[in-house]
């Protein structure tokens, strides 16, 4: 059995949300190295997440103000926030918990697995009418028996996955919770073969969501990464990755 001392330290800090972006990248790299199905890693993650969750109970509970519960239920039922007069999402919505607590989406094959991936990873976003074409293409890809998933992690907010099938001409970048890039900037996806980056296109999230078709087969790449670049979409990265993953 391989040594888990180093990754255990990172997992413990991660459970407390104490990792810096560099630490998060180190954890992602080691986690990728251990493999998504590493049983000891999964055990460590679940136990340290459990310990961290228990720490909340050392804090005295706060009193819930009158009307808050009803307001919450109204919003849940799709109504408007009676106090704010709108149903805009809170400014700090985050999907990190999805990565850590959602069912692990390992490399899956077949239609059933594809449906699970869509249901768990994309949700209602696939229903956006203007994305119907891309959605159909993604669904077609996910029906491939050898469909693969690559999770991109790093310092950026949000959840980002690349779905591809070796031999299939197209891949998809799918995600949510990604912040808007600064003015004049865009996100750019890269495929690395060794140390050589190849652009896989620029994109910008819509309401944090990303559904980006990639006209390439990443299966021959060693890693994928996202950087923030100018809108000109340069041919080589000019900044450090905000998200990355090793194949």
């Amino acid at each position: 059995m391989r040594d888990h001392a180093a990754i255990e330290e990172l997992i413990a800090l991660g459970a407390l949300d104490g990792l810096d972006p560099s630490g998060a990248r180190e954890l992602a790299a080691q986690r990728s190295d251990h493999g998504a199905d590493c049983e000891e890693c999964l055990r460590l993650e679940s136990t340290y997440d459990e310990v961290a969750g228990r720490l909340a109970f050392a804090v005295e509970p706060a009193e819930i103000r009158d009307g808050f519960e009803d307001q919450l239920v109204t919003l849940a039922r799709g109504g408007e926030n009676p106090e704010r007069g709108d149903d805009a999402p809170p400014s700090i919505a985050r999907e990190r918990d999805r990565r850590r607590f959602a069912r692990p989406m390992r490399a899956l094959a077949g239609v059933v697995a594809a449906a699970l991936i869509v249901g768990a990873g994309v949700g209602g976003y696939l229903l956006a009418p203007k994305e119907e074409s891309a959605t159909r293409a993604l669904e077609q890809l996910l029906r491939q028996p050898n469909v693969q998933q690559l999770e991109l992690t790093g310092g950026a907010n949000g959840t980002m996955n690349v779905y591809y099938a070796p031999g299939h001409p197209d891949a998809f970048l799918v995600g949510s919770g990604l912040d808007q890039p600064p003015s004049g900037k865009a996100y750019e996806l890269w495929m690395f073969r060794g140390q050589t980056p190849v652009s896989a296109g620029c994109f910008a999230p819509e309401n944090g969501n990303v559904l980006q078709e990639v006209n390439a087969d990443p299966s021959g790449a060693d890693a994928m990464a996202i950087t923030v670049e100018s809108n000109a979409c340069p041919a080589a990265p000019t900044s450090q990755p905000v998200m990355s993953g090793a194949l």
Binding site: D17, S46, E50, G53, A56, F57, F68, A76
Partner: protein, 190 residues
């Protein structure tokens, strides 16, 4: 231990019912964990309105995607508190200026908060006692880094700066403390 197991089973059943669109189950889950989630969020962000927004977002996420909970990955309460903590820490790190303003608005408190609040469900006060006892059982230097990390939302490097410790020391103290907490709270030495 039996109480904890029964409580966990009940929580899982509530989440399952939320998946069926059961509003009563949603309300019960909120009444059971909403006050603790709000207390945690307030502790970290120190802004009542922002803390409330975080808790609202967490429970709306539960309503919209209860399938995001995987029983194999831990308890419902750890899931809920994990979501709350992630969002609160994100808020702290993204809004440092707001944090400074809020520090003046709400005084910092120790873990042993003297406020007395009635908790609807049995079991949670016992849980609180157990967690506080586990924290008290830590060596002071381990407890310090874990409290700064979890209850203040500070990252490893910020803690190293604040305590003027090598980063490796912060990491090793955190791991040792978490191992002790794991043993105390989960009965797992390894």
């Amino acid at each position: 231990m039996q109480t904890v197991d029964l409580s966990g089973a009940r929580d899982r059943e509530l989440v399952r019912r939320v998946g069926d669109g059961d509003e009563d189950a949603f309300r019960r889950l909120f009444r059971r964990y909403g006050p603790t989630a709000l207390g945690l969020a307030r502790r970290i962000v120190r802004q009542p309105f922002l803390a409330e927004e975080i808790v609202q977002e967490v429970f709306l996420a539960v309503w919209r995607d209860p399938g995001g909970y995987d029983p194999e990955r831990g308890s419902v309460r750890a899931w809920l508190m994990g979501m709350t903590h992630h969002r609160a820490v994100d808020a702290v790190r993204r809004e440092e200026a707001s944090k400074r303003r809020a520090a003046e608005a709400l005084p910092e408190t120790d873990v042993e908060d003297p406020a007395v609040v009635v908790v609807e469900e049995l079991g949670i006060p016992e849980e609180r006692k157990a967690v506080r006892s586990a924290l008290d059982g830590l060596p002071a230097e381990q407890r310090q880094v874990i409290e700064l990390m979890y209850y203040r939302g500070l990252s490893q490097s910020r803690i190293a700066e604040r305590l003027q410790l090598p980063l490796g020391t912060v990491k090793s103290r955190t791991l040792l403390g978490m191992r002790r907490l794991r043993a105390a709270l989960l009965g797992m030495e390894r």
